[in-house]
């Protein structure tokens, strides 16, 4: 059984928009489909990690990367809707500018029967200089494999 790509994107969107922690961080799904997801998150004073600079805490950026990576996996044509993070590494290139929205783009670039490999990048308004990059491995439930999501 295969799911139509548009249905898959719709299911993934509903699932992601229902995640409590992503809602608490006010994440917004910008784009999804074919193993690629783009999700953004507004700056908020509740997310600040640096008492003097107003810079968002790395942990909030990790949460954005993790959500975006999971969404990319769920939108892959050969994966079912469910996934969980196995590991995630984030490299912090620079502090995100205070007050600016952060946008992450994740791509599921390889899928085996059990594992999805993902890379992701995050930017603030300056699209030439990434704020952070990430690589991760996620669990996979294959479409048509008869498993549960």
């Amino acid at each position: 059984m295969t799911t139509h790509p548009e249905d898959k994107a719709r299911i993934a969107r509903q699932f992601i928009e229902a995640i409590p922690f992503s809602r608490a961080l006010q994440m917004r799904l910008e784009e999804i489909g074919n193993g690629v997801a783009v999700i953004s998150m507004p700056w908020s004073d509740a997310l600040v990690g640096d008492p003097r600079g107003g810079v968002i805490h790395g942990g909030a950026v990790s949460a954005l990367m993790d959500t975006c990576g999971g969404a990319a996996v769920m939108s892959h044509p050969e994966a079912l809707a469910g996934t969980a993070t196995i590991d995630l590494r984030i490299d912090y290139m620079r502090a995100a500018a205070p007050g600016e929205r952060i946008t992450a783009r994740a791509e599921c670039y390889h899928l085996t029967r059990s594992v999805a490999f993902v890379r992701a990048t995050a930017w603030d308004a300056d699209e030439d200089r990434p704020v952070a990059t990430a690589t991760g491995a996620f669990t996979v439930a294959r479409a048509g494999a008869g498993g549960t999501a």
């Binding site: 409590p20 509740a46 008492p51 942990g59 990790s62 969980a84």
Partner: protein, 169 residues
């Protein structure tokens, strides 16, 4: 030669608790996550106090991987920061009552952070402790372990590298 009488225990505790409170109070994201810290001497145990907003998979339900990553990173940075202030506070060079977000030393900056998700996080409190495996003047390497019901049954662990603030200002 007469020995100085030992400091009253309440004075020692107050000094250390105020230092910790000043650090925790300076970081809004710690409050957003609902993380608090238990202290025994210089040993810190971070507590992620359960809240429904921390859920990532409502069907299971399980804690969000991003909430777990945030919890571990907060724990690592607090361990490094508390260690960094310890000597100055204990030897009287820094008065914890005068520590405000404006006067605190700069906090360590994360260079990279890798989280292993070993089991799904259950919808209840979680605990974490960080160990500084290497601390130089500029770089530090920290490992963090997190558990819920059983200390020996970790549900997540992480390793991170941090850039330490320069000591000259």
């Amino acid at each position: 030669m007469t020995r100085r009488p030992p400091e009253p225990v309440a004075v020692i505790k107050q000094r250390r608790d105020r230092t910790l409170a000043a650090l925790v109070g300076a970081v809004p994201y710690i409050g957003f996550l609902g993380v608090s810290f238990d202290r025994r001497g210089d040993e810190l145990t971070a507590v992620l106090n359960y809240d429904d907003k921390l859920i990532g998979n409502p069907l299971l339900p399980a804690l969000h991987g991003g909430a777990i990553a945030s919890f571990l990173e907060v724990t690592a940075i607090m361990e490094l920061s508390f260690n960094m202030l310890w000597d100055d506070v204990e030897e009287g060079r820094i008065d914890p009552d005068r520590l405000t977000p404006e006067t605190l030393p700069r906090l360590p900056k994360t260079i990279d952070f890798t989280v292993d998700y070993l089991r799904s996080g259950l919808p209840r409190d979680a605990y974490a402790r960080a160990r500084v495996n290497r601390q130089g003047r500029r770089y530090a390497s920290v490992h963090v372990e997190a558990w819920q019901d059983q200390r020996q049954r970790l549900f997540a662990q992480a390793t991170g590298h941090f850039l330490m603030p320069s000591r000259d200002g």
